[in-house]
């Protein structure tokens, strides 16, 4: 049982049966206890982010999706980045490279809201948190999803 086997057996989701891990373990030909222990280890080291429900933003009414981008003093980012990432309305938060002259921003924080006004209010909270360390910002709203595929895992069996 390697990681790829586990991903393949579970990428469609956990079976909706009373003993789901037993059902998956049977399909993999392993003991249920071994599968559960392995998933527990993967949760601990980050290979599994979490186990549970993955909601559809749009179905929950979160139709405004803004990628907020920030030009933050590099020296302050190690301290400020984790505080932005910890805000409850920030779903993804990354430090990425600047690409001058086209792109000056080094902090990306995805903000979801039910309206653009809600996103703007949340962006203002981030601005307040960053304070003088932030030199410029922008918010890029998505206007259309052009493609959305699930995570595929195509490695050899």
């Amino acid at each position: 049982m390697n990681d790829a086997d586990i991903v393949r057996a579970l990428q469609a989701g956990l079976p909706l049966v009373p003993r789901p891990y037993h059902a998956v373990a049977e399909s993999l030909g392993v003991a249920p206890e071994a599968l559960m222990a392995r998933l527990g280890a993967m949760l601990k080291d980050g290979r599994v982010r979490r186990i549970g429900a993955v909601p559809n933003h749009y179905a929950l009414g979160y139709v405004a999706n803004g990628m907020s981008v920030w030009d933050v003093d590099d020296a302050a980012l190690a301290e400020l980045g984790p505080r932005v990432g910890a805000l409850p309305f920030v779903s993804h938060c990354y430090r990425r490279p600047r690409r001058p002259p086209e792109w000056r921003y080094n902090l990306f924080a995805m903000v979801h809201g039910r309206t653009r006004a809600e996103v703007e209010a949340k962006v203002a909270e981030i601005a307040a948190l960053l304070g003088d360390a932030c030199r410029a910002r922008d918010v890029l709203y998505s206007t259309r999803i052009l493609k959305k595929s699930g995570l595929r895992f195509t490695g050899p069996p």
């Binding site: 009373p18 003993r19 789901p20 186990i51 549970g52 909601p55 990628m67 990354y94 792109w103 995570l151």
Partner: protein, 154 residues
């Protein structure tokens, strides 16, 4: 038809809010999670099935991090002339390495995520996309991640 926040009942809302992480690893996990919600196992399974069927949930189960398992990811952006946007979107979307692609209101108006099995695959995919579209691709690989699990309130 898709469910919306307005049409969800209190039980469904409680399920979505409570189960975005921390689902138990045990023989009867639905029974254990149901008990915490004050319902029985069969009801929880039936509600999850309905929430998946109507699109409120995109999936239920472990969320894997391919980056932690040896795969590679990056975020890319392109500045696509408006009159050429549909044609370029078709070319970019046809690459299997393109996992998500969004149109965004900005001079850089196309943003997509590349996912490959190896780090070397990223550079190769970018070269092929540039060759196929005739447009430069800006690459924004993550340097650091400041991540806390997403919790959407239903």
């Amino acid at each position: 038809m898709r469910a919306t926040g307005r049409t969800m009942n209190e039980l469904d809302r409680a399920i979505v809010n409570a189960l975005q992480g921390g689902f138990p690893l045990c023989e009867r996990p639905y029974a254990q999670a149901a008990a915490r919600l004050g319902i029985d196992e069969a009801t929880l399974i039936a509600r999850l099935r309905a929430l998946l069927a109507d699109g409120t949930l995109t999936r239920f189960g472990p969320l894997f991090d391919a980056g932690e398992m040896g795969g590679a990811f990056t975020l890319c952006a392109m500045r696509v002339p408006a009159e050429d946007f549909e044609r370029v979107a078709g070319i970019v979307n046809a690459f299997p390495e393109v996992a998500h692609n969004y149109e965004r209101a900005h001079r850089l108006n196309m943003w997509f995520v590349l996912a490959t099995e190896t780090p070397e695959g990223i550079a190769a995919a970018i070269r092929r996309i540039e060759a196929a579209t005739g447009l430069p691709v800006l690459d924004f690989p993550k340097i650091d991640e400041y991540f806390v699990a997403l919790r959407l309130t239903a």
